[in-house]
């Protein structure tokens, strides 16, 4: 709680936190806040030629190619994207960190075996893997999250593995061992706290990549099924109108970037706050 209070003293962290709260709130309270049903196609939502409407007083952010209200779709889409971003990414981070730490701490043959498997996964085209997995399990939001996690843990495992090795070689680890500390204690009290910043960076970076990967999967028809909106599939549905109605791509794109940036800044600030040598410096 103390760390959190100090964190919010940083302007950029406070701002990022506000953005995240705003997005989360609009996702949770979408039924109350959204001006329209996200799936309702309005007759007056399209021009006579059948192209989407630019932002106007009736549809604040305009309409999409089927005449649906973009703002409502964005708010409902935030539910999907946050779900994927947090669940899939959280799962990827947990799995990647666990595998990386185990391999890096145990070392030896077991560690090498785990890392060779990770390399194998890395060499495998991620999209192909995602398509295969998605084809095996019938697509649902949860499966999509799982598939994304299965693809994304690999890089995290690599980074965490290398970092775990580098931290394990530090003299204060040997010092702890010379005191008689058990491996569990060394891992918990000395290795994990030093890994935290790396995990944090990857966790925040991962949010944008997972949201985008979900968009790609949606585009390929193996992600979130239409008409359920997600930020990714809003972009892909509307990309044909890019030249005539650029806001349909830019606005959800901006939402993704805003979310990713907010998490990145918050993660950065949190990392600095957790490091006693950086604390209080801006």
């Amino acid at each position: 709680m103390k760390t959190f209070k100090r964190l919010l003293k940083r302007k950029i962290a406070l701002f990022s936190f506000a953005v995240i709260i705003l997005i989360v709130a609009s996702a949770i309270f979408a039924p109350l806040l959204a001006p329209y049903d996200p799936n309702q196609q309005f007759e007056q939502g399209l021009t006579l030629q059948g192209s989407p409407l630019a932002p106007n007083s009736e549809f604040i952010l305009g309409t999409d190619l089927l005449g649906r209200d973009l703002l409502s779709r964005l708010m409902y889409g935030a539910r999907t994207s946050l779900f994927i971003g947090l669940l899939a990414n959280g799962f990827a981070v947990l799995l990647g960190t666990f595998i990386g730490v185990v391999a890096g701490f145990v070392r030896g043959r077991i560690g090498s075996a785990i890392m060779r498997f990770t390399d194998l996964m890395m060499a495998f085209p991620a999209l192909l893997l995602a398509i295969t997995l998605a084809a095996i399990f019938s697509p649902s939001l949860f499966i999509v999250a799982l598939v994304i996690a299965m693809v994304n843990w690999v890089q995290i495992a690599r980074v965490i593995y290398t970092q775990t090795i580098s931290i394990s070689e530090k003299e204060f680890i040997e010092a702890s061992r010379s005191l008689g500390a058990t491996n569990t204690r060394i891992l918990r009290r000395h290795v994990l706290p030093h890994l935290a910043p790396f995990v944090m960076v990857w966790a925040t970076l991962g949010i944008s990549t997972t949201v985008l990967l979900e968009a790609t999967l949606s585009f390929l028809g193996i992600g979130v099924r239409p008409p359920t909106p997600s930020w990714g599939n809003i972009i892909f549905e509307n990309q044909t109108y890019f030249s005539t109605a650029p806001w349909l791509v830019f606005i959800p794109g901006a939402a993704i970037i805003l979310l990713a940036l907010a998490f990145n800044f918050l993660g950065d600030a949190l990392r600095d706050e957790l490091d006693p040598t950086q604390r209080g410096r801006q």
């Binding site: 010379s178 005191l179 008689g180 009290r189 706290p193 490091d275 040598t277």
Partner: protein
Amino acid sequence: MSNQPLLSVSGLAKEFSIKGNKQKIKAVDGVSFSLNAGETLGVVGESGSGKSTLGRLVLRLLEPTAGEINFDGQKISDLNPKELRAARRQMQMIFQDPFASLDPRMTIEALIREPLDVHKIGTAAERAEMVKKIIGHVGLTEDALSRYPHEFSGGQRQRISIARAIITRPKLIVADEPVSALDVSIQSQILNLMLNLRKEMNLTYIFISHDLSVIQHIADKVAVMYLGKIVEFAPVDEIFSNPQHPYTKALISAVPQINPADRTNRVVLTGDIPSPASQPSGCHFHPRCPIAQKQCSETEPQLRTITTADHLVSCHLATGAVK
């Protein structure tokens, strides 16, 4: 029991294998010595002589390839990991670099309390009390406790390391170059602190250093190491007044003397210490020895007593004569 030495080591050896090379590096090669409670053993030698490895072997921070370690009635070399962890309460280590050996993310309080947490000594309140007591003992104030290592100078951090090492009231402390990273003015403060603590707590030190003047100040016995072996072992006065091994003589002649009258002829060694992977034949020191003879390159000398029973030297040519 009381007549037994606190620590006795025999035939201790450590080989490191190099990747892609069948040959092994003998970092420590058949070292034996014993140490009584309250004594300080100074271990000197150049970089690469195996002195740090020796310190880590004694504490089994490195697994010995061969040899036996007996400490306080326990055969350290035979303990299983759990017993070894418990035994560590009695034998602690002070590291060379106080910047690297303290976890930068822990407060000083957490760092000093760590040994108590590890060995589950006392209740939380008792632990806090002990930490407060020990911090004054090593010459720091209580307001240091809530701070982090990077806020302290090298000397202060080494005091923190010492506090960590003594809080479990150990019998043996291995200090691996504890003052080499410090300014000379700070060195003497830390050395005096260690001397005071030795008296108060009846500590036994293994004090590893490349600095003979430091060794002269603190040690009771001195082991001179060269290429993983002890080449001379004697009480500190004996080593300095009557060095027998040419390597010891060279080291001592390199110590700066304030009084010009005390300056002796400098024995200058040429070349570097050979790689332990390709050890010279015969006496390992012969390629650099100023008085080497034919037999030195052929047969390896063994440690033998000379002049007094507690003066050991491994040199064919040592006669026991004073300079």
